[in-house]
Amino acid sequence: MALRTSPEVGGMGHSIKRKEDPRFIRGKGTYVDDVVLPGMLYLDIVRSPFAHAKIKKIDISKATAIPGVLAVITGQDLAKYNLHWMPTLMSDTQMVLPVEKVMYQAQEVAGVLATSRYAAADGVAAVEVEYEPLPVVVDPKKALEPGAPVLRTDKKDKKDNHIWHWEWGNKAETDRVFSEADVTVKQDIYLPRIHVASIETCGCVAHFDKVQDKLTVWMTTQAPHAIRTVFALVAGHVGLEEHKIRIISPDIGGGFGGKVPVYPGYVIAVAASVLTGKPVKWIEDRMENLQADSFARDYHITAELAAKKDGTLTALRIKTLADHGYTDAAANPSKFPAGLFHVCTGSYDLKAAHVEVDGVYTNKPPGGIAYRCSFRVTEAVHTIERMVDIMAHQLGTDPAEFRMKNFIKPEQFPYKSALGWEYDSGNYAGALRMAMERIGYADLRREQAEKRKRGELMGVGISSFTEIVGAGPSKHFDILGLKMFDSCEIRIHPTGKAIARFGTKSQGQGHETTYAQILAEELGIPAKDIKVEEGDTDTAPYGLGTYASRSTPVAGAAAAMASRKIQDKARKIAAYLLEAAPEDLVWEPGKFSVKGAPNRSKTIQEIAFAAYTNHPQGMEAGLEAVSYYDPPNLTYPFGSYICVVDIDKGTGEVKVRRFVAIDDCGNIINPMIVQGQVHGGLTMGLAPALFEEISYDEIGNIQGGSFIDYLVPTAVETPKWETGHTVTPSPHHPLGAKGVGESATVGAPAAIANAVVDALWHLGVRHVDIPITPPKVWRLLREKGVTE
């Protein structure tokens, strides 16, 4: 894309330095735990050691005897206000604090309120809870067997642990295409529970001011406005109406989807502040964060792929068990219980597809949030990319060549997928070709053949993913009825500087910089002269927040549309000042000039001043605009990743030797920030591919509940990422942009898994579930008779 602005203006395409950085590198950010209010109390939480148990008795006497402990809040206390249960985003119900029984290990049982952090922790240790253990259901397959204990005894008519059945696509047609296929492959794929583990945990400071009759909550949330509405819906009946609630999302230390839900701790803190009239701080520790906050994935997938003899793919069939824990608290658009999993036909031109997903209750914490991913897109991409690789190997075709043959072709866009999505634009072969050139694909295959002769294990893996992001068009996309538009409000000051506010909330993505660049592009006002604010519901326009890579596709588009409204008014003011007809003016970023008389011009700064000092009679003063952007379609970023792995036969360790990532996110706002997003996303793709997993033993004890055994990659395990891009603009986005924050997380795990299987295929290995840990590979090698 050609640059339209100078580096000083800093519009789209400039790698300007981030506006956020000066405060962060000085330690002057304001994260929620940095908020301190006079008289503030601390909340700490008693948690269940059992995965399923009746609560027989809670004895708080020893706790309340501790100096500094003011109160212990239990489910019984909240039940008086009907606040012991709350609705989830998927219209299920979730306990704030239990009255009868606990449903997972580390579930909140009681809240201790004290004058200091340490006293609150002492109080937690002193609360005595008597439990009666109940049978535990951990495996979602067993949960569906007849005779399995029914977990949701709170739901009167519930006779099993099945939550919902969802299916999509033409079953009869898919079955017919399968029956005519020359070749079919079938594979069970498990994508385990993982946790986003942002380095900042979750927390809040809730302050109910009785005099002002106003609740202010500083809170680690990616969606402050939606949270305000949810709070009002849940607690409006006890006087917390929406105009009395202010949510402030301060600097956020990483979100990745984990800061979308409403966790019980937030609600207990709010209740405690309303009851005491004092500010209450709740900050979870790392173990609470890993053990009790919402999880991602936990999909048990069975996939089948059909092809003709000549290698033309024809159909895909998928059945999945989705383990949601004890409640469906997934953060999905309400109409899509399995998120956007039905983008699972990926980058390939398939005739038919059919997907079934069944949601299941187990004795685990609520799952189904994202792990830096747009609503189950990683699950979809991993499935199709694994299956395509299995088919290619099965047919004895090179996986790159096989993909090239089956890609949706550039001339097919806009492309209607077999499952009904309308892909906006793409050039999949272009990205794969670039990745192959960058990594030296042909040479790697030669090296692999030579090494195989010597008995060395080396693999090359490809993932050519297509994402679906930017939710979403209001016709189909809402959360609890709130349409998934997003917003931008711009005010140009008389001196030509500006403030812009958004309904989204950055958690490290750099919105203060990139949104300013959009305004700079559209208005010619230098990015340095534009202040961007987000996260305060009292000042920002309503929006649905930042997740699912929706900020650029939706709020970024709103910024362009609001800028264009301002440009329209500026044109009228300029015409008045230049004594010309508006249609005779020519716009270039930053000024209007008269057609054929370029010396007669007015800068945006001059026009802004006139808007307050010399505006035309009959026109309203000021230069402001707001846009609530309802996207006409989703955007479909894509890319091709190629990964080279070497496997140590002695230890089973997989080493990523090289990883080339070619991304296409449409037009780019800030290349430096886009590259940073890809680096980070790749590392969060590497993590579940090789290291991270949250599992449970048969009685529901969590394995991996601290950083001791939940292995977040360090700089040592992380390879030196090699990145590049192609540019295929989105035809419907006003800036041609698509969003990039999650592409790499979505695309990378399949590239790594495919590389490992590629290294082992000749030994008879067809699939390895992630995370591909050394013990897993070591056992596989021994099974196949490989020794060092």
Binding site: K28, A197, S198, F256, Q507, S706, T714, T718
Partner: protein, 156 residues
């Protein structure tokens, strides 16, 4: 117990519980909130500060253990309005995103470059392996440290 420390060159004293963690003394008693908390098992390194010039994880040290000693936090890096070369490097190379791990990364790197002014990339990666970053993928953090090393070598 009375604890006396010099923090970023300023003397402070505070009456504290013996079990008070150093990170809480820094963040809550002295209100220097640049030092962050990211875990409770010494894995993430967000709380890294310098104690007598050596990097320590302040969530795993009692405040009283710092008695009579010098502490440097991220707030002490900028001198007379001039940023430390590492701070400049992190900005120049896009070595930070959410900013939460950044103070700990900076403090670890300050001590590392003093010990090893001309490090290899591998040495840098090992040096920061006690500091977790979830946003950047480390590539640009490595570049930021190289940027600062070059600048410090140049005598700037």
């Amino acid at each position: 117990m009375l604890v006396k420390v010099a923090i970023n060159g300023e003397k402070h004293e505070a009456e504290v519980e013996p079990r008070l963690l150093l990170v809480h003394l820094i963040r809550e008693n002295l209100r220097l909130t640049g030092t962050h908390i990211g875990c409770d098992t010494s894995h993430c390194g967000a709380c890294t500060v310098l104690l007598d010039g050596r990097p320590v994880k302040s969530c795993t040290i009692f405040a009283v253990q710092a008695h009579g000693r010098e502490i440097t936090t991220v707030e002490g890096l900028e001198q007379d309005g001039k940023l430390h070369p590492l701070q400049e490097g992190f900005m120049a190379e896009h070595g930070l995103q959410c900013g939460y791990c950044t103070p700990g990364m900076l403090m670890t790197s300050v001590a590392f470059l003093q010990k090893n002014p001309r490090p290899t990339e591998d040495e840098i990666r090992r040096a920061i392996s006690g500091n977790l970053c979830r946003c950047t993928g480390y590539v640009n953090i490595v570049k930021a440290i190289q940027h600062a090393a070059a600048k410090l070598q140049g005598g700037a």
